[in-house]
């Protein structure tokens, strides 16, 4: 999976879970402030990413602020397979 593929997966899941226009899901978009995500949304995102990539550490999304932060986390965690 390329870095672009990772970003695409994250963006698609964000748009689907947060029920927002995919065009708003830019790397700079703030999950809570811009896209109105809450703790349940992040829990859903965590499960969705695990469904795709297998188990992730519990704290994976605890300190992410933007969509770009999620993509960066995923890149690090999937480093071995990219």
């Amino acid at each position: 999976m390329t870095e672009d593929d990772i970003a695409t997966v994250v963006r698609e899941h964000c748009a689907q879970i947060l029920k927002v226009d995919p065009a708003r899901v830019t790397g700079d978009a703030l999950l809570r402030e811009d896209l109105e995500a809450d703790s349940l949304d992040l829990a859903e995102l965590h499960v969705a990413l695990e469904e795709k990539w297998g188990p992730l550490p519990r704290e994976t999304l605890t300190d992410v602020r933007s969509v770009g932060d999620v993509i960066a986390k995923a890149r690090v965690l999937l480093g071995g397979s990219v």
């Binding site: 029920k19 349940l40 965590h46």
Partner: protein, 409 residues
């Protein structure tokens, strides 16, 4: 409830039923006396033994909440939120502070669609595939929570569960909250969305469902000689209850007064009613005593009347024990709308209030030949009655009985 210093006014009504999404639409359909049972098309019913139900078409939840908010509500809570919101809008602007406003809901199956999707899905048969939203959407208090959150009700909010009597118990308990001074305004009712393959099969195997698959519209036939069980339904109904003082102070339109509430248990059997309806009769008497009314003063009884052979016979015996020579007119709207389980009592409470206002008794649909063993005056055609109190019964599996009495004011 006139025994207390605080009288309880009904000032708002809201419904989502197979017979309509507005009280007037519901009332007109009830008066027409035509069943709303139809073949189920939302899932494959092959092999379930029953292929029809009374369903709510075109639920308009996204007119009330955003798509994302709606996606966090099971269909049961969506039905509840729509009906409760309508009831609150109907009641108009409230004056009581948020801390004096409450909600009581009744449900039997909770967020059943969510539950089944989670439990029956996934790769592991023994785990299902629950997501982060499964628990908060399936929990049985989810409708009370949704209504409290959406409307900022910060007084008591809770859910009661007494199977098919839940909706009536919710309204009765809410009335006690108002009467007891624990809240000034309570929106109360019931909601159910349990038309799923597993619930349908479970009820069928319990031998309580009509299996008249060749003629669904003739299947729900309370008190009829040829009845063979109830027709599963879904829906929600809510009423706004408030103290008369609060209602008068804000110039509210008052539909009726909740004057009586009875709550008893058979203490007898998991599903069968107590012999000759002893628990049901005691419940009706308790409600009459609560209202300070004599049996002769009731102008009509909205029966639980499910259309199962045993319920209708036993309820008729109970009504006869309480009313005897008074020969009160009895009707069951389940002939038209089926049995919406926990929502049934709440829908029937709304129907009772509408009947009281119209001074009319809606007909029991499909009443071709009254069961000669049911020695009560079952209404088969619309009947005019004098202005007066209406009594509504609900009985649940487990022997839970609830009776509400609404009076003109």
């Amino acid at each position: 409830m006139s025994q207390s210093a605080v009288r309880v006014a009904v000032t708002g009504l809201g419904v989502r039923t197979p017979a309509g999404a507005h009280p007037k639409e519901l009332w007109d359909t009830l008066l027409a006396g035509r069943s709303t049972a139809r073949a189920i098309t939302s899932f494959d019913t092959e092999g379930l033994g029953v292929g029809f139900a009374c369903q709510v078409e075109g639920l308009d939840v996204e007119a009330y909440v955003s798509a994302k908010q709606a996606s966090r509500l099971d269909r049961m809570s969506q039905l509840a939120l729509c009906a409760a919101t309508d009831a609150l809008c109907d009641a108009g602007a409230l004056r009581a502070p948020a801390e004096r406003r409450g909600v009581v809901t009744g449900t039997c199956f909770g967020g059943r669609t969510t539950d089944e999707a989670a439990m029956l899905g996934g790769r592991h048969l023994e785990r299902g595939a629950p997501g982060p939203l499964t628990v908060p959407m399936a929990m049985h208090n989810s409708a009370a929570a949704a209504i409290s959150i959406h409307h900022g009700l910060r007084g008591p909010s809770l859910s009661v569960e007494t199977a098919c009597a839940s909706g009536s118990h919710a309204i009765g308990e809410a009335g006690r909250m108002v009467r007891g001074g624990f809240a000034d305004v309570v929106v109360a009712g019931g909601a159910e969305a349990c038309i799923t393959p597993a619930v349908l099969l479970g009820f069928r195997r319990c031998q309580v469902l009509s299996q008249r698959n060749e003629a669904p519209e003739r299947a729900s036939r309370p008190f009829d000689r040829d009845r063979d069980g109830f027709v599963l339904a879904e829906g929600a109904a809510f009423v706004v209850l408030e103290s008369f003082e609060h209602a008068v102070r804000r110039g509210a339109h008052v539909y009726a007064e909740l004057t009586g509430y009875g709550s008893t248990s058979d203490g007898h059997h998991l599903t069968a009613p107590s012999p000759e309806g002893e628990g049901a009769a005691r419940c009706m008497r308790a409600a009459l005593a609560d209202a300070g009314l004599a049996a002769e003063e009731i102008v009509h009884v909205s029966a639980h009347g499910t259309g199962t052979p045993l319920n209708d016979l036993t309820e008729a015996q109970a009504i006869d024990r309480v009313f005897g020579a008074a020969r009160v007119p009895v009707t069951s709207v389940k002939g038209v709308i089926g049995h919406a389980i926990a929502a049934a009592g709440a829908i029937e409470a709304v129907a009772a209030v509408l009947g009281l206002r119209a001074r009319a008794v809606p007909p029991t649909a499909n009443l071709d030949h009254v069961d000669p063993r049911c020695d009560v005056d079952v209404v088969g055609r619309v009947r005019s009655v004098p202005s007066g109190p209406v009594l509504s019964n609900s009985f649940g599996f487990g022997g839970h009985n609830a009776t509400l009495i609404f009076s003109p004011c």
